[in-house]
Symmetry: C2
Subunit: 567 residues, 2 copies
Amino acid sequence: MSAISVQTPWVLVVTVYDCSKGGNMKTMKLGMTALSLAVGLGLGGVAMQAGAADAPTLSKDDFEKAKTLYFQRCAGCHGVLRKGATGKNLEPENTMKLGQDRLERIITLGTEGGMNNFDDIMPKEDISLLATYIQMDPPKPPEMSLALMKERTKVYVDPKDYPAKPLHDRNWENFFLVIERDVGKVAVVDGDKHEIVAHIDTGYAVHVIKALEHSTVSKAENPGRFWYTMGRDGKLNKIDLWQTPDKMLVAETQIAYDARDVAISGDGKYVVGGAYWPPHFVIVDAMTMEPLKVVSSRGVNVDGDYVEESRVAAVYDTPNETSWLVSMKELGQMWQVDYSDIDNLRIEKIDSAKFLHDGFFDPTGRYFQIAANASNKMVVVDTKERKLEAMIDVGKLPHPGPGANWNDPKCGPVGGTTHLGEGTVTVWGNDPAGHPDQAWKVCYTVETDGPGLFIRTHPNSQYVWADQTKHPEPEVQQTIQVFDKDTHEIVKSIRITDKPGYAAVHTEFNADGTEVWVSVWNRKDSKEPNGEIVIFDAKTLEEKGRIKGFYAPTGKFNVHNRVEHVT
Amino acid sequence: MSAISVQTPWVLVVTVYDCSKGGNMKTMKLGMTALSLAVGLGLGGVAMQAGAADAPTLSKDDFEKAKTLYFQRCAGCHGVLRKGATGKNLEPENTMKLGQDRLERIITLGTEGGMNNFDDIMPKEDISLLATYIQMDPPKPPEMSLALMKERTKVYVDPKDYPAKPLHDRNWENFFLVIERDVGKVAVVDGDKHEIVAHIDTGYAVHVIKALEHSTVSKAENPGRFWYTMGRDGKLNKIDLWQTPDKMLVAETQIAYDARDVAISGDGKYVVGGAYWPPHFVIVDAMTMEPLKVVSSRGVNVDGDYVEESRVAAVYDTPNETSWLVSMKELGQMWQVDYSDIDNLRIEKIDSAKFLHDGFFDPTGRYFQIAANASNKMVVVDTKERKLEAMIDVGKLPHPGPGANWNDPKCGPVGGTTHLGEGTVTVWGNDPAGHPDQAWKVCYTVETDGPGLFIRTHPNSQYVWADQTKHPEPEVQQTIQVFDKDTHEIVKSIRITDKPGYAAVHTEFNADGTEVWVSVWNRKDSKEPNGEIVIFDAKTLEEKGRIKGFYAPTGKFNVHNRVEHVT
């Protein structure tokens, strides 16, 4: 084969070493225009060109737009290098077999397997751009050094100026922090007065918000006034709920280009941020927000294959040990990282199953229960022994979000999860000390109308709430279901909106468990303040009222419940 | 800038995304011929082209030849991606400044800084090829999966057929295993009879040979009959000294494409192999040689920068703990890896200094003393506390090899190292319990005539031996120096050969310490059996005799001394 064959005055075939595939040669056919455009692209310029012979191309502007859309809507499940995880592999060798039309149809309508439908929130031309983009080779993002992270650290309020007591007389311990996804804000809401107190600028599409729980330090030492938000863009923001609304954002840094989770050390000294790209986690000074140490998460998975895009999913403080649990999504490993001496960093690399995503502790705080979604398992880690405790077979693509623990008349203490892949809630025993026969075995399942993202309850409530956000049909997507802890029967299905392109997502109880808050997620016009939170009476299950004026509200975090580890 | 500008009918400028640099664009100017050649290259095809505008090119055959030469002679110090470590960075942005002539001169004559001279062992045309090759972008080698390693595992003698007692009546506990570098063999030598027993096929340029030491298991459990060799090509071979010479090679596997060290677990269950490329270490079943687990060593160095080519240098069993020490050369970290539960693998990542290379234990087996050569330090790890103990400033580019411990009249127990970068032996106190004031402080230094690789002694000897193999002058390179443990004076300089292209390297005592063995390394004709081992009387320092017929003998390992941890 000749390296360069002039087929028309403007078309040439060049063979390029494509690094994203670890070294295979790829033929690219490019018209003069396409090649000229490649130049300006910088990162990923030629990756854009390096598809198969008949790979589609995009103009520079369309490529950049598609890259951004992909990052915001697709990378979470499919990966920036598109090797797949929660979602399918989207490398050209797979996507090109499907072709433009089929890909557009899938993006438009979604699939029962957990793929969202985007017809209600994305214009046809964006869907078409994405369908083309995923048939081209993925551009590889750059690394990020500790030095760059330090440069991107900003202090808005000097720690020495932190107030000694709240500068407002609201009941901040019943505040809710609400993610306003697409505008990169977090709303602070007064849970007593049902009023929005502030919209705080954070990173884009904050995934999780955490404060130190009281399991390890006294309320006096750390009253949970400080909250930390992790944006998908790797921005890590620190919020002080004792400040006046205009001053609540006290510091920020950036630890990655793509990130998800954050946790605080039990001693209150450190914050750890988990990143998707670059694949690493970063230990940050919890007071000053100065990044201190970067640990790469690139590694070899439980099958013995090297994974370049080895992403960090859930990150949690272990209530009873001086450590964090850092979930290695693609590796299928839980890393228990001890923060008591970060210069001699101790890590247990606990083998489990792929792909680890989101989890929650049992009521004792000893066992962490996390979804291995591609394996349809809940993985249980014993944080005391720092080893794998059990793996429980559950439904298709488990996704508990913040999860739920309660007491079952038969099985005793149990935990439960919703699933991305089916309309089922699976409930298992999680009390090996008191109920060894039921421990880590499925106690029962509840059939719901559709796959969901989040399950939640409260010790003072008789009910468990599950959303169905992943179902493609609006009437199901907009309906939340409630079942009884004793009868296991669904006692109520509540449609909280019927607006096209709006969905019901995520429940959170207030501090005393008398109210349940559910989000009306205005996905279609997510940058408008048309989102709502619907408040239900936790006993009667009747609607008590609505708080309006949110920008695409999704996850909600009640200060008391999260800080006191109430699930 | 235009992507493609026809400057002559045959020359074009294309901008390529060069992955080996983490994403910067590089301009390449290529003639038709050069570009045609790129096609056939596969791995590294266009990397070869992606140099600066006036980058030199090589024919496909010359490129492949240069790649092999570079791997065999240069990669060890400079890295396959040429980012530098013990040796300088050799990426085009640096090498092209020097240019072809200067590069050829450096390769020919070497430098005082530790760079070898190759004029005596490499033809001019090879030197010229290398000088050109290092001005071109380095090709990136592939990954290696656990599955592939398993495929490459071969059993020559089934463990159930291992003999219950030696099948020969030689005194195998005074055998020497001698590395025959360039022919990929290890010679087994009878230390009593001064006879070569066997030349065993191993990997290429075996770097280290190890057996289980008796510090952790009884002689009965594991008499040190089994030896493990690690080749530079990643071949890991198992030798049984109880077998007849033709059957001594009992099993092998391959854990990498480029590797250095190996260690056995204290319980005798596992062997761990440390690799340069892919950057990882591999845990292997010590009986069957089946690879069990791969752990990536890619990571973030002590400066906070991600290192793709993060190589594993020295790997040692910790005599008193259920762990190995795995040195992360470029990261500047020692990883203490606990093998007691490899499914929940515990690792302490101990920060120290760059670039970690070779080390040895103190006499108690608690402290590991390892060279951080780019920092001119000896790093001391406390394997009991699993943390950094101390860092000692020594000379330029310390390199102790197997190292030496002895007692000093003033400082008590001491350790010593030679240096790649200067003719000095540095000696420090290493007994914090008995001599806290001298511990981890330099006790004295001895000036030698030239930089060397190895230092060695024996409890029954009054003397310490240091080679000078890194000195460019033949008369120094061929001379070994001996100094007195009490007076610190050099008592003898012994030139063991005057043949051009031959060097003196590496000393090892026999079991009872009455003899000292030194290699005549026939570097020039290393694939001929012209190498010798010169045997000296350890007391009189007079030559006792020579064993001839070795292929480039370098490192020597006496069974008793290594297995009983005699240094």
